[in-house]
Amino acid sequence: MLRFVLRRCILVLPSLFGLLLVTFLLIRVVPSDPAMALAGDAATPEQIERLRQQYGLDRPIWEQFAVYVGKVATLDLGESAFSRRPVAVDIAQRLPATLALTFCALAISVFVGVPLGVIAGLTHNAWPDYLLRVFSVLGIAVAAFWFAIMLQLLFSMELGWLPLRGELSPTMQRPPRVTGFMVVDALIAGRFDVFTDALRHLVLPAVTLSLGGLATIVRFTRAGVLDTLQQDFVFYERAMGYRRRRLVWIYVLRNSVTATVTQIGLLFGGLIAGGVVVEAIFDWPGIGSYTVQAILTGDRQVMLAVTLLVGTVYAVVNILIDLVHGLLDPRLMERA
């Protein structure tokens, strides 16, 4: 098992290297002079030339890449041209907000999506199944930015139940930063008013972000359940008098979620990409809005670092997914 994890981790490194190379080259294709962007509008040609030398931008591109990779290996992600702070510091500052949002969205997708998928599978070709099928097509088809605005209009503007944007109400005092997670820090500070406020701010962005994944999980769980129900062992278990609820939610479900678990790994890509849009709409101070800012200002170091971060998260999540597969199905563990 340990060997399995180690081997997977080593296999990830070439992928990340490739990702970095492609991103590095792509950013160079963009017709903007990084030295010019760094120097600002009022800079003289001499100043620009000096910056170019200072950052090694006058060197051949392969040399620049080699230097960058060497720095990344020591966790030096460079400096943001916009904030003038190390990118690693900026990311550490903003990552908890994004993780909290992603985690909540994923939790909604899984804990709502799996039961709905099971219900759809059990009621195959009856009205709950039809209803859920319409819902899951809509969930995948509807654009996140449109859905977000509809939620804002209804729950914030019209009903006033939930805050419109941000991580915390302006009237609230931020709790001292311990973990960086607003909800956790509020609890550590013993501020339950801040805790509820932070939680209320999470609802709309998390629901928006969860929609696509939720629909996907409903579909895959439904398909998995339908497939499992055809298996001989389900008939055998019924003939042996298994309790219906336990049969469905334990013995059938565990056989049905293999494809769903794989999808959860793939969904992470969608969650991170969707996070960029959702964070921008809800003014959420995470990696997504940081990325949008970096793209708008041509902040190359940030773009590279964020791409690498997303790639790493994606790879780590998929290693975890493989482990979950092994736990769900003992036959896979033996083959590995």
Binding site: D232, F233, A239, M240, G241, Y242, R246, Y251, N255, R331
Partner: protein
């Protein structure tokens, strides 16, 4: 003496896209206490549907149009799903499935699956004075280990902690026989339990079943398509063709003097007896369009005009078997 299981005039149809399929038309059988009844028929004759109807697990769209299933003095067809689960399945009727690999849940330990059944259906489940919680579970484990040892499963103590794919086919079938007996039922229904096994293993399993019937005081309904197995194992026989019981009686009598043309044809093409590989010409009529008259008439070498007039009644053959053929009406 009243039979343990008695099926009378059972008719089951299933709604399909092409219309109503009459899977079972008129099935009747009796299983006497302590005996082994073989139910024989070709694939598609309705054997599986018969088992499903007795256990109350018919597929969606299936209806029981007529008939009765009497088990220990009660009509099972009057039972609700919850009553069948609470009072019949596992606790009074054990089940041995056809394919031992496909019947076990691949992602749960063998012990987990067997204990799940015992948790709800073991005899102590309805005994308020019996042990509870951990002690009860321990008693169940002990009983299972004892049963597995009796079934000659190697390492019975650790077997419960293993997964189904870690056993061979024959061992898995022994596990399933142990599971069927775990809650001490009076009747065991076996659905071609030896079909998926090689001949040597098949023979061992049959010997084991034969011993268990006497040892555990059960009655066994053994469904198969193989006359060789019937001859080796069973006391009584019920031959089904196209959803109808065509001949039933003691095995010895029927094997010595098969009366129904279908039974004769089936026996004649059994590999042990056959002189050619011709089989029975033609095929079982589609359940969507059963012909009028005798269902076997289109394939019968003795067919005459009378056979096409209407369904032949049951008659008594000289061998003592009940036969559905105009020759004995």
């Amino acid at each position: 003496m009243m039979p343990v299981l008695s099926v009378r005039g059972l008719k089951v149809s299933i709604r399909t896209d092409e219309g109503m399929a009459e899977i079972l038309d008129d099935v009747g059988l009796e299983l006497e206490r302590g005996r082994i009844l073989g139910v024989v028929g070709e694939s598609g004759c309705g054997k599986s549907t018969l088992i499903r109807a007795i256990m109350g697990i018919l597929p969606r769209g299936a209806t029981i149009d007529r008939g009765e299933v009497w088990f220990e003095g009660e009509n099972l067809l009057a039972f609700s799903e919850a009553e069948l689960n609470d009072q019949v399945r596992s606790s009074r009727i054990g089940f041995i499935p056809q394919d031992p690999l496909l019947a076990l849940n691949p992602v749960f330990k063998v012990g987990t699956q067997m204990l799940e059944v015992m948790r709800w259906h073991a005899p102590d489940a309805k005994d308020p004075t019996g042990p509870r919680g951990g002690a009860r579970r321990k008693a169940h484990v002990a009983r299972l280990v004892g049963l597995l040892r009796r079934m000659q499963v190697p390492d019975p103590e650790t077997a419960l902690e293993r997964y189904p794919h870690q056993f061979s086919g024959g061992q898995r079938q022994r596990l399933l026989i142990a599971a069927a007996l775990a809650c001490a039922p009076g009747l065991v229904i076996a659905d071609e339990p030896t079909t998926a096994l090689d001949v040597t293993t098949q023979h061992q399993i049959l010997l084991l079943l034969r011993e268990l019937v006497a040892e555990f005081g059960i009655s066994l309904m053994f469904v198969t398509h193989d006359f060789g197995v019937v001859a080796e194992l069973c006391d009584d026989l019920c031959v089904i063709y196209a959803g109808q019981t065509v001949e039933k009686g003691p095995v010895q009598a029927i094997l010595e003097a098969p009366s129904h043309p279908y039974t004769r044809a089936l026996l004649a093409c059994h590999p042990d007896r056959a002189t050619t590989f011709l089989g029975i010409p033609g095929s079982v009529p589609s359940p969507l369009a059963r012909p009028p008259g005798c269902l076997f008439a289109p394939r019968c070498t003795d067919a005459r005009t009378l056979c096409l007039a209407g369904r032949p009644p049951q008659g008594l053959a000289p061998s003592g078997a009940e036969v559905r053929c105009v020759q004995f009406a």
